[in-house]
């Protein structure tokens, strides 16, 4: 307990005003990486509004993102799930890394994404949708016994066109614990800030603090059966509001497009950015500015 209190104080002590400037997407990635030395702590949840026969749940997660270098961002996820008329359990963790191979901005900017997941089958955050949809009525107690070590890769392509961000993600995932073949998925998104020019005053409700758009994502089967059969797909408007200099709220109601999709996925999140975190930690250990 004392450790967490000290950790909390350390983070607060190291915090300084910083712009969040978060993308509003929940699933799609664009080509913008975390600035080097910045730490972002985010909490978000996915609430499943089920179709008949599916259980409702809320799956919260914590996301710790750090800009290692200008072209390398790393991120740790800790996730859980709370299912109606069942239980609340820990579902695992994920570690992802994003690399930007090109030095300059181009018409299309590629990002290479690699992730390792140590999760159990109860995981419900749906950070990405891949493969075929699995409708399970097993209890969390049963699902948590099925552990999955998965690796995932994404090719992220992203462009900026007249303040619009246009992103395409192509996903391939492999479960190392079971022979499910390679699973595929996609995510496409567009968004833009609601104002192009920044006003001179510090305001909370200025249009420049909001960005909005939409994303679509879904599974594409696997090497055992590629295509749209029995796959979940979602269309999701997205909205982000930079509440203060260093924090952003995000919201996205995703609508299920196929019979095996959930009726809806309501997603909401809050992120807080600590600028210069790496430098501040280094200075604690005697490094000069």
């Amino acid at each position: 307990m004392r450790f967490y209190f000290v950790l909390f104080l350390l983070v607060c002590g190291l915090a300084s005003s910083a712009p969040a400037q978060e993308r509003p997407y929940f699933v799609t990635y664009d080509h913008h990486l975390e600035e080097p030395g910045n730490l972002e702590i985010a909490t978000a949840s996915t609430v499943r509004v089920p179709r008949d026969g599916q259980p409702a749940y809320i799956a919260p997660w914590i996301e710790i993102e750090y800009g290692v270098m200008t072209r390398w961002t790393t991120e740790l996820y800790l996730e859980g799930i709370s299912t109606r008329n069942d239980s609340t359990i820990w579902t695992g963790w994920r570690l992802e890394n994003r690399f930007r191979p090109l030095r300059r901005e181009h018409w299309i900017n590629p990002i290479l994404y690699f992730e390792y997941e140590s999760i159990n089958e109860a995981s419900g955050i749906q950070k990405e949708v891949v493969g075929n949809a699995e409708i399970s009525n097993e209890s969390n107690a049963d699902l948590r016994r099925e552990h999955a070590h998965e690796i995932e890769a994404k090719l992220i392509l992203s462009s900026t066109v007249r303040d619009w961000n246009i992103s395409e993600n192509f996903i391939v995932e492999k479960n190392l614990s079971e022979d499910e073949g390679f699973e595929f998925g996609y995510a496409f998104g567009v968004y833009r800030p609601l104002a192009s020019l920044a006003s001179g005053r510090n305001c909370r409700f200025c249009r420049e603090n909001f960005s909005a758009g939409a994303e679509v994502y879904g599974g594409l089967g696997s090497t055992n059966g590629f295509g749209f059969k029995d796959t979940a797909h979602y269309f999701a408007p997205v909205l982000a509001w930079q509440v203060s200099e260093n924090s952003t709220l995000r919201f996205s109601p995703a609508i299920g497009l196929t019979d095996v999709s959930a009726r809806a996925l309501m997603r909401f999140g809050y992120s807080y950015e600590i600028r210069g975190f790496g430098d501040r930690v280094a200075r604690l250990f005697g490094a000069s500015r």
Binding site: H32, E105, L197, A198, G200
Partner: protein, 138 residues
């Protein structure tokens, strides 16, 4: 006697202020000769050049995105450029805009392409407000 003391105090404070101003400059900063925009990008004019009302927004954006490394007055910290130097101020608006957009991975300068284009031009507008010093980079 008291007058003498006051004069001496003022003299000491003036010298200290001069020293702190001089040392506040980032003398470690050296331009990266390989960090140059293509000619068409360098010659782009600032579409906000006749919009002095946009400077305040540029200042706000500068404080949010640039001041951490370049200092609150543009003096440059660590390896970041001192915006008051003539070597920086002599660069075209298009050059500064291109550098903000692309960043320089070799020097730890991130890309700010996530900002809307006009906001990047607002930052360029504000950079012009930072008084140039009569010292060029090494």
């Amino acid at each position: 006697m008291r007058l003498m003391m006051n004069r001496r105090l003022i003299l000491i404070l003036t010298v200290l202020a001069a020293i702190s101003t001089a040392t506040a400059q980032n003398t470690a900063y050296q331009q990266d000769p390989g960090w140059k925009p293509p000619a068409d990008a360098a010659s782009k004019p600032n579409p906000l050049h006749d919009r002095p009302d946009a400077v305040a927004g540029g200042q706000k954006l500068y404080r949010r995105h640039c001041a951490e490394c370049h200092g609150p007055a543009g003096e440059g910290l660590k390896k970041a450029a001192d915006f008051r130097l003539l070597a920086v101020q002599q660069q075209t608006d298009g050059t500064l805009f291109w550098k903000i957009k692309n960043g320089n991975p070799d020097r730890g300068m991130p890309s700010f392409s996530r900002l809307p284009e006009l906001q990047r031009w607002q930052i360029v507008l504000y950079l012009r407000q930072l008084a140039p010093q009569e010292k060029s980079s090494q």
